[in-house]
Symmetry: C2
Subunit: 212 residues, 2 copies
Amino acid sequence: MSIPSDLRSRKRLATREGISNVATRLFAERGFDHVTVDEIAIAADVGRKTVFNYFPRKEDMVFDRDEEGREVLREALRQRDAKVAPIEMLRLLAHRLIAEQSPYVDFSSRSEGFIETIQASETLKARARAIRAELAQVVTVALAECGGRDPDDPDAHLAAGLLLATWTVAFIEAHRAFRRGRDTEEAKAAFLAIIDKATIGLKAAMAGTPYV
Amino acid sequence: MSIPSDLRSRKRLATREGISNVATRLFAERGFDHVTVDEIAIAADVGRKTVFNYFPRKEDMVFDRDEEGREVLREALRQRDAKVAPIEMLRLLAHRLIAEQSPYVDFSSRSEGFIETIQASETLKARARAIRAELAQVVTVALAECGGRDPDDPDAHLAAGLLLATWTVAFIEAHRAFRRGRDTEEAKAAFLAIIDKATIGLKAAMAGTPYV
DNA sequence: CACATAATTACACTGAATATCAATATATAC
DNA sequence: GTATATATTGATATTCAGTGTAATTATGTG
């Protein structure tokens, strides 16, 4: 997380930031699908290849923290106290992310534009679904490990699927709540309310497995 | 479903079938991503534009029954007896589809190749996720209607998300069961076992809503 | 047969993504 | 400080999916 001292690395970061900022602005202004990579390269004053150098796919200019997100999930389940069941652990994670003002659960005017940009583009929605699928895979593996089972345990798959569906709905609903009341606190409350309520249900659904 | 008598319509169907068959064969032989639309057009002896005429996207040559699938879900929930809760209705639908040998729940050597082709291609997996998202949307709207609520009712979204996750896991698990034992009946039993078990959990999770 | 309509195709174009290779900037060894 | 190695960049060309347009061919109808 620290800024590298050597010139090469700093230049790299600056170039990356420059492209990212230009792209973000253009996407917000005109929509993801109506901005070409050529335009981004020109606006950022770099070569077209340089853009693809930093962001292998155009979508990566929007979602550039997905590995970080997966790591948050892995860590939460790895550092779990043995007394706390995995499903409960993820509920606690939701509360912690909210308490820590994590950017993953930011429901504000700023994030609203981000969400709008995504919703307006089939390509970005597809990428969001792919990221969810990767998250589900991470949760599946982590759960199976917690429960001492195979990484293809059906119960782990089911639990992960139900959990991801829950978080997704909570996330969407929190953003909707913010749009209605323009109140971040209200949105956070909505997020946690859905997580908490659904967790009770999920515990019932997964009773008899090592995950609850 | 009946074959049209006029020459034009028959030719249309034949052309479509021809393209579809050629494409299916090529995809199975060499993988979706290693077959170009040009090759399909040449092999099917039609113009490139004709291919796109029948299948707007390359993926549509693989998934050409998704609207049909959505309609099955809509119909099941629409023709529901008022005494049967929506979530229970979908459990019954699963049993009916299995009993009727519906192609949607075919776990055999034939469908195995189909699944392999999809799993081998990021593009096709993305399309499968998009179709799931569309199904979730259909279920959300149908549930909300059943429960006399808004189409953006959080409970409906949550229930639909949980249901789709359940069906997806059941589907994947049934295919895995077939791969293990090469027994269609065993795979069908695995499918229904997951649906039945998860339904109990989902009823607990959605208690207090109009959907259970 | 003549006319209208639908289907097919050729052609040209856009835009994402990849590959190659030369030019340039930076780091490291001496 | 100079030389060499390496990383970064950029110019150029190519592949492939997908779209638009207009011309051509096939089919249905009076």
